[in-house]
C-alpha cells in the first residue's frame, strides 16, 4: 500500500505537470482485488494495463491500486481515483459492482468499466470473458484423465460466473466419464494462498486427483505438486511455472486488447457504455498450452473442441441439460441464452450439494 501511495502521488505530480503544459493525457485507473504478483487474475489485469501503456505511450498515464477489499472500502478507493483525475477506471472484480455504480453516479464525466458484473449506467460499461468455454475444455480433459473419478473444485464465491464454470466443467467431464464426481469447496475468498493450499490438500486427501480452481493464486498448484499424481489447470493466467505437471493446461484471460480499445475510445472521445462478453473466438479467453502429461489423442480432442467453440459450431451449454432438481433446462439441441447464463444460480443434474446463498 505504501507503493500505491508513492505511485499515486507520483502520478498526481506527473498529472499536474502535464496539465500545466496544456497537453492532453488520458489517465486510466485500475482497481485490483489482489496483488499484481498473484500470478493469476490480478496479474493478467495488470498485463492489460501495461498493454495500454505500450499502445498509447505518452498519451496515457495509468494508476492502479492493489488489494482493494470488495465492499465499502472499494467506494473509497474508486472515489479517490476519480478525484485524482482518472478519465477511465477499470474495476476488476465482481464485488466492485455496486461500489462502481455508486461512485459513477457522482462522477458523470468519468468512464467506468466494471469486470464480470451486470449493472450498467450511462457511464458504466461492463465486460467479462466467457470463461465457461475454457471450463468445458478443462472438464473434458479432467474427465478423461482422472483415475479416482473424483475431481476437486476450489470455488470462490457463489456468484453466477463461478457456478457457470462448475456446471460447464461438470457437464463435459460427465460426458466422457459417467462415473465422475465433483467435490466442491467454497473458499469465500479470491486470494488467500494459505487457504487455497489447505483447500487443495483437503480435496486431495479426500481422493481427488484433479484440482480445478476458481481462485487467484498458484498455491493449489504447489499443493498438488507436493502431493504428486494430481493434475491441475492454470486459472486466469497460464501458471506455466507448474507445467508440465501438475498444470496440464490453463485458461488465460487476455484483457489487453479490450483495455486498449476502451482507453482508445476515451482518447477519441467516442467512449460510450457497452456490454462486452467475449470468449475464445476473439481471444479474450485463451487456452494455455496442453502439456505432454496429456495423451496426444486427448490433446487433439481438446483442441478440436476449442476450435469448434471458436468457430461458433459448438456451445458448451447445449441441451438436453437438466437442472439438479431434475427439471429440464435446455431441450435437445437448444443452447443457453446469455441471459440464462448471466444469472445462473443452480447446479446441473448430477452435482451434489447446494449452491450456498
Amino acid at each position: 500500500m505504501l507503493r500505491r501511495t508513492l505511485l499515486t502521488s507520483a502520478a498526481l505530480a506527473v498529472g499536474l505537470a502535464v496539465s500545466g503544459a496544456g497537453a492532453e493525457t488520458v489517465k486510466a485507473g485500475f482497481i485490483y482485488v489482489g496483488p499484481v504478483g498473484d500470478g493469476g487474475w490480478t496479474y493478467e489485469h495488470d498485463q492489460g494495463r501495461l498493454a495500454v501503456e505500450e499502445a498509447f505511450g505518452d498519451n496515457v498515464e495509468t494508476v492502479y491500486q492493489e488489494n482493494v477489499p470488495e465492499g465499502a472500502d472499494a467506494v473509497r478507493a474508486i472515489t479517490q481515483m476519480a478525484l485524482q483525475g482518472a478519465d477511465i477506471i477499470f474495476t476488476t472484480s465482481f464485488g466492485y459492482m455496486d461500489p462502481t455504480v455508486q461512485v459513477a453516479s457522482k462522477f458523470p464525466n468519468v468512464a467506468f468499466e466494471h469486470a464480470t458484473g451486470y449493472k450498467r449506467a450511462d457511464n458504466v460499461s461492463t465486460y467479462s470473458a466467457r470463461f465457461y468455454e475454457g471450463r468445458a475444455i478443462q472438464g473434458h480433459i479432467a474427465g478423461k484423465m482422472t483415475k479416482t473419478n473424483k475431481i476437486g473444485y476450489i470455488a470462490s464465491f457463489p456468484i453466477p460466473e463461478v457456478v457457470r464454470g462448475i456446471n460447464s466443467a461438470y457437464l463435459h467431464a460427465k460426458a466422457v466419464n459417467p462415473d465422475v464426481e465433483f467435490s466442491i469447496i467454497w473458499a469465500y475468498t479470491w486470494f488467500d494462498p494459505a487457504k487455497e493450499a489447505d483447500a487443495a490438500r483437503a480435496l486431495i486427501e479426500n481422493g481427488a486427483d484433479v484440482i480445478l480452481q476458481h481462485t487467484d493464486s498458484t498455491a493449489p498448484q504447489a499443493a498438488a505438486q507436493e502431493a504428486g499424481g494430481v493434475i491441475t489447470f492454470g486459472q486466469a493466467s497460464d501458471m506455466g511455472d507448474y507445467a508440465p505437471m501438475p498444470r496440464v493446461s490453463s485458461i488465460i484471460d487476455n484483457w489487453g486488447p479490450y483495455y486498449v480499445q476502451q482507453v482508445g475510445r476515451v482518447i477519441d472521445g467516442t467512449w460510450e457504455s457497452v456490454d462486452t462478453w467475449d470468449g475464445i473466438s476473439t481471444g479474450m479467453v485463451g487456452i494455455g498450452e496442453i502439456s505432454d502429461a496429456v495423451p496426444a489423442d486427448l490433446k487433439a480432442e481438446a483442441l478440436g473442441m476449442k476450435d469448434a467453440i471458436a468457430a461458433g459450431d459448438y456451445h458448451p451449454f447445449t441441451g438436453p441439460i437438466y437442472r439438479q432438481d431434475g427439471s429440464l433446462w435446455l431441450a435437445e439441441g437448444e443452447t443457453a441464452s446469455d441471459g440464462d447464463l448471466l444469472g445462473m444460480s443452480f447446479y446441473v443434474q448430477g452435482l451434489t450439494g447446494d449452491v450456498p446463498n
Binding site: S183, I184, D192, A194, R201, D241
Partner: protein, 307 residues
C-alpha cells in the same frame, strides 16, 4: 454425507500445518504485549519472514537456514519499530501499522525473482518408538521440527513468565513501567528484547507459511494471518496455553470446514468460516463483562524515564 473419506491422520497433519504459523506469531506477540508494547506490525513481520525464509531456503537448499534467516530478518525489522517507539517515543499503533505496510511492500520487492519457484521441503521428523504407535503415532509424532518447536516455545514462554526472574521483570515492566523503572530495571532495554523476540517468532511463523504450508512465494501470501495472531493474543487473555488453544482452535476450524466441504457434508459454510472470529468476539465480551481482561496495565503506553 460421507465422513469416512476424511482421514483423521491427514486431518491432524493439516491442522498442524494451518495452526503453527499463527501459533508462532501469536506467542511472540504475547511476549511483546506482556512487556507493555503493542506491536500491530505482526502481518508485516510475518510476510518479511516468509519471503526471506523462502529466498534463503531456495538459494541454499536448506529449509533450516531459511527459518534462521527469516527469524533474524523479522527481528531486525522489528527493531526499527523498537527504536521508533521506545527511543523516539513514536505512537505504537501508528508505527505498528506502518511496519505492516513496510513489510508488505518490502516483501513484494524482495520476492519478485522467487515467484513460481519451488522450495525444498521441510523434512518430517519421526520420533523413534512413539511414531510407531498405530494411528496415534503418525497423528502426533511424525511432524516436521517446527511443529514441535512451536509447542516447546509455548511451554518455554509459560515457564519463563511464571517461574523465572526474567519473566517477573518482563511482567513488571508491562504492568507498571514507572514502578519497574523506580526499582532500577531498564524498561526500554527489556522492551527492546521483547520486541526482538516477537519479531523473530513472527518471522518463523511467516517462513513456516511459505516453506511448509503454501510451498511457494506469492505476494501478499499471509493474507491476514498476522491480524489473526493479534486477535488470538487477546482471545487468550495474554496466557501462553490459551494462545496454544486459540491457534489450534482457529487452525482446526478452518481446516475442518474445508474437509467437511470436500467430503460433501452439508454444513453452513459461511457460518463455519466466521466461527473463529465469532468465538473471539464472544470471549472478548465475556472477559470485559467480568471486568478482568488480563491485559498488561501499561499496554501501549509510552514510557519516558523523566516522566
Amino acid at each position: 454425507m460421507d465422513l469416512s473419506s476424511i482421514n483423521p491422520v491427514l486431518l491432524i497433519a493439516s491442522i498442524m500445518l494451518s495452526a503453527t504459523p499463527i501459533l508462532l506469531a501469536a506467542i511472540g506477540e504475547m511476549v511483546v504485549e506482556k512487556s507493555g508494547v503493542l506491536n500491530l506490525g505482526v502481518e508485516g513481520m510475518m510476510i518479511t519472514g516468509a519471503v526471506v525464509g523462502f529466498a534463503i531456503a531456495v538459494n541454499t537448499g536448506s529449509p533450516g537456514l531459511g527459518f534462521v534467516a527469516a527469524a533474524m530478518a523479522s527481528a531486525v525489522l522489528s527493531l526499527s519499530f523498537g527504536i521508533l517507539t521506545q527511543v523516539l517515543l513514536a505512537n505504537q499503533v501508528a508505527t505498528g501499522l506502518g511496519l505492516t505496510l513496510v513489510g508488505l511492500g518490502l516483501s513484494a520487492l524482495i520476492g519478485t525473482p522467487y515467484v513460481g519457484l519451488k522450495s525444498p521441503s521441510v523434512p518430517k521428523v519421526e520420533i523413534p518408538l512413539l511414531s510407531d504407535i498405530p494411528v496415534l503415532g503418525p497423528m502426533l509424532f511424525s511432524h516436521d521440527l517446527m511443529v514441535y518447536f512451536s509447542l516447546f516455545l509455548v511451554a518455554a514462554v509459560w515457564a519463563v513468565l511464571k517461574f523465572t526472574r526474567i519473566g517477573l521483570i518482563l511482567r513488571a515492566v508491562g504492568e507498571s513501567h514507572d514502578a519497574a523503572h523506580a526499582l532500577g530495571y531498564k524498561v526500554v532495554r527489556v522492551r527492546m528484547a521483547a520486541i526482538f523476540f516477537g519479531g523473530a517468532c513472527a518471522g518463523l511463523g511467516g517462513a513456516y507459511l511459505g516453506l511448509a504450508r503454501v510451498l511457494q512465494w506469492t505476494e501478499g501470501m499471509t493474507a491476514g494471518a498476522g491480524w489473526i495472531a493479534l486477535a488470538i493474543v487477546v482471545f487468550a487473555s495474554w496466557r501462553p496455553w490459551r494462545v496454544l488453544i486459540g491457534a489450534y482452535l482457529f487452525g482446526g476450524v478452518s481446516v475442518l470446514q474445508l474437509n467437511l466441504q470436500a467430503a460433501d457434508v452439508a454444513v453452513p459454510v459461511a457460518l463455519l468460516s466466521m466461527s473463529p472470529y465469532l468465538i473471539t468476539i464472544l470471549v472478548l465480551i465475556i472477559i470485559s463483562a467480568r471486568g478482568a481482561h488480563g491485559a498488561p496495565a501499561s499496554l501501549g503506553r509510552i514510557f519516558h524515564a523523566s516522566g
